[in-house]
Amino acid sequence: MSAPFYPEGTVRALLATDLVTEATRTALAARLDAPLYEPQFFDGVTYELLRAVAARLFPQPDRETPIELAHAIDERLLKGESDGWRYEALPPDREAYRLGLGGINESAQLLFQHPFLSLSPEQQDAVLAAVQRAEAPGTTWETLPAQLFFEELLAELTENYYSHPIAQEEIGYVGMADVPGWHHLGLNNLDPREPESN
């Protein structure tokens, strides 16, 4: 069974209707129409490295303007916000990101003799896969547990990606349009406003 594709434009159209509450619309519209962002926590080069990593973990060749995933991390680290817990084996988030991104570059150098940003997409994937498996070379990973860092990085990027209305549209999620409630529950039972896959 191949994964379904849903029609484009459903979520954007729903957001313009009164099927969505004001609070929900405010939250989603802010992401949909996010202004251009200048990094404030990371320096420019590190921020570009984070964006390049995000582009491999969430490649978006199908989009003219990819969903931006790095800026929410930069904002969060700037404000010092937490999601309530941390693996004790990892240093505090700001340090973990600085060290971990440095480690990705270090591994890129050791594996392919170039910084991560200069590698081909296939080489970049190889570096990231090595970090995920805790097999990447480099002294960084002697102090920073590679697997845990990768898990945290992937989880945060994933949450940023699927919080975006366009990514929610991609997976056929329209739970935000809940003002009338859902009347058709159970298997293969759709409310009229739920998009069908093709």
Binding site: T21, A23, P59, G84, W85, I171, G175, L185
Partner: protein, 563 residues
């Protein structure tokens, strides 16, 4: 206790605040080095915050542990004040149907997760705001069964509760009717109930229908679950009409129409109607006591301003992390040596599968089907047991878990999530035994408020591993029988339990059977930290039942004293 700072005569304060902000520290150092204080009346040092009148009871925390007893005490005519660290929301206006926007419902001060199976907090296991974690609980409200309270009697493992099911039964019944719990006409497991649920069960969603199908194949009995969400409009004493659930599926990120029985739409308005004073944004930093060891009052910060309140009795209901943390920070009720120990988390492994059918996991009450056939499985190689629940899931929560557990990324990650509408899950809620390696302690590291972070150690022991393995096998069979492909498991641990347990003796427990601290006569603790064992059941209903019982036992004692 050495090095105690004497705030005022007779009041001891062992908490030594540490100034975190370097700028503030500089200013303080500078001020301290000044030779003479100004005589200008406008430049005199601020006094300690003024003490208000003494109240009968201060309750710290407004979740399932604090809210029911707050209402009970207020209804008995006592002067009661509740201090809640989080804000007071208007769900109809403030709650978005968006997981990220709702992150303010979670306790986001960082906790450190240690051990071989570090437990996640934040959205998994914590809450803040008027209503506490009930603002985002799944509203699953099965009763515990009688044998849940007697694991030691039956298996020689863990410890027994100082009382059993019969003691809580009247409270379960009262709660089901007060909260408006929706449930089946005849619940197949446990002791026969005296009154049926007040409302019919909520409709089964896609995941529930699939679990029903798979279980039927295997001969496992299922039932619509008991949920603290209204299947019909319900008139509630002291509160008014609450509207029926609209199948929004967003319980775990906040109900926006009052259909879910969180404390802010049930016990707290009832308490307020009887004169309880509920103070939001009030973060407790110190618990004061006198030289005879009685609690005399509480210091808290409200909207950046330090406040003090005097009380005759203190009820600590801050949950199984913040409650022991406050006790440890204040060096209070520590003589048993059990504060922070016996940390338990329910075995909560989930099994996910992909189906041909259209499921739409965001619709309907997330846990609409249950089975307790695995409460004491015949082929068990472990103490205790578990229950099975179908699970609906919001997209960001699901994607995040899948990323952590499966490690899928790149095109493979996006392709898997495009199946979101065809994915359904089952999970368990199972026992966990106390173990010396699993405990909470204060870390050196401070959180954003400048308070020592809690470090929670958790390593699943053989009993938890065996329950998890048994359950994974059963759930995989159910999903295969229901027609799933691409089945995978996500081992996890849910709820925080046991860090200030109740018992018969102050040698091995922090509070007695009535919730009163053995070594502090006017300190009561009521939340999941007092649970001596985990119970193979979602904890909220039992926490509320224990809360009402704690209030009744306290009031009985007060009445005896009056006579």
């Amino acid at each position: 206790m050495p090095d105690e700072e004497v705030l005022e005569e007779g009041v001891l304060n062992p908490v030594k605040p540490e100034i975190q902000d370097p700028l503030l520290r500089e200013i303080i150092d500078e001020n301290q080095s000044k030779p003479a204080a100004s005589r200008d009346p406008l430049e005199q040092a601020a006094l300690l915050p003024e003490v208000e009148e003494t109240v009968d009871c201060v309750v710290i925390g407004t979740g399932a542990g604090g809210a029911p007893l707050l209402a009970r005490l207020a209804m008995a005519g006592l002067k009661v004040v509740a201090l809640e660290a989080g804000g007071w929301h208007d769900p109809t206006k403030d709650f978005a149907t968006d997981e990220k926007a709702q992150a303010f419902l979670f306790w986001n001060d960082e906790r450190l997760s240690a051990g071989k199976d570090p437990v996640a907090f934040g959205r998994n296991n914590s809450g803040t705001g008027v209503g506490g974690s009930t603002l985002h609980y799944t509203a699953y409200t099965p009763r515990a069964q009688d044998d849940d309270f007697h694991l030691h009697r039956d298996f020689g493992a863990g410890v027994d509760w100082p009382f059993g099911y019969n003691e809580l039964e009247p409270y379960y019944e009262e709660l089901e009717h007060f909260l408006g719990i929706s449930g089946p006409e005849n619940y197949p497991w446990g002791k026969a109930r005296k009154r049926s649920y007040p409302l019919a069960p909520l409709p089964l969603n896609g995941a529930a229908q699939l679990m029903q199908r798979g279980c039927a194949e295997l001969g496992i009995r299922t039932s619509p679950a008991a949920n603290a969400a209204l299947s019909a409009r319900y008139y509630q004493e002291g509160v008014g009409w609450r509207e029926a659930c609209t199948n929004r599926g967003f319980c775990q990120a906040g109900c926006n129409n009052g259909a879910k029985a969180s404390m802010d739409v049930t016990f707290l308005p009832l308490a307020a109607a009887h004169g309880a004073d509920i103070r939001p944004n009030s973060y407790v930093t110190e618990i004061e006591r006198n030289s005879s060891g009685h609690v005399t009052g509480v210091v808290y910060t409200q909207n950046g301003i330090q406040q003090r309140i005097k009380c005759r009795n203190l009820f600590l209901c801050a949950g199984a992390i913040e409650t022991p943390r406050l006790l440890l920070l204040n060096e209070l009720a520590l003589t048993s040596g059990q504060v922070g120990r016996n940390f338990m988390a329910h075995t909560g492994i989930q099994v996910w599968g992909t189906f041909a059918e259209d499921i739409r996991p965001y619709k309907g009450i997330p846990g609409s089907l249950i089975s307790e056939d695995t409460h004491r499985p015949k082929d068990a190689d472990f103490a205790g047991g578990y229950l099975l629940q179908s699970i609906g899931v919001m997209p960001v929560t699901f994607a995040s878990q899948a990323a952590r557990a499966r490690g899928l990324w790149g095109q493979a990650g996006r392709d898997y999530m495009r199946d979101y509408n065809h994915i359904a899950g089952i999970n368990i809620l199972g026992d966990c035994l106390p173990h010396a390696d699993n405990f909470l302690e204060l870390a050196e590291e401070k959180d954003a408020r400048g308070v020592a972070k809690p470090r929670v150690h958790f390593t699943a022991q053989p009993n938890e591993q065996r329950i998890t393995a048994h359950a994974e096998k059963v759930m995989r069979q159910i999903w295969e029988a229901a027609g799933a492909t691409d089945i995978w498991a996500f081992p996890r641990y849910a709820h925080t339990i046991g860090t200030a347990r109740m018992g018969l003796s102050g040698d091995d427990a922090v509070v007695d059977a009535n919730g009163r601290a053995f070594d502090v006569p006017n300190l009561y603790i009521c939340d999941n930290s007092v649970f001596p064992s985990a119970l193979a059941v979602n904890p909220a209903l039992t926490i509320m039942a224990v809360s009402l019982r704690t209030a009744d036992k306290f009031l009985e004692k007060e009445r005896r004293r009056d006579q």
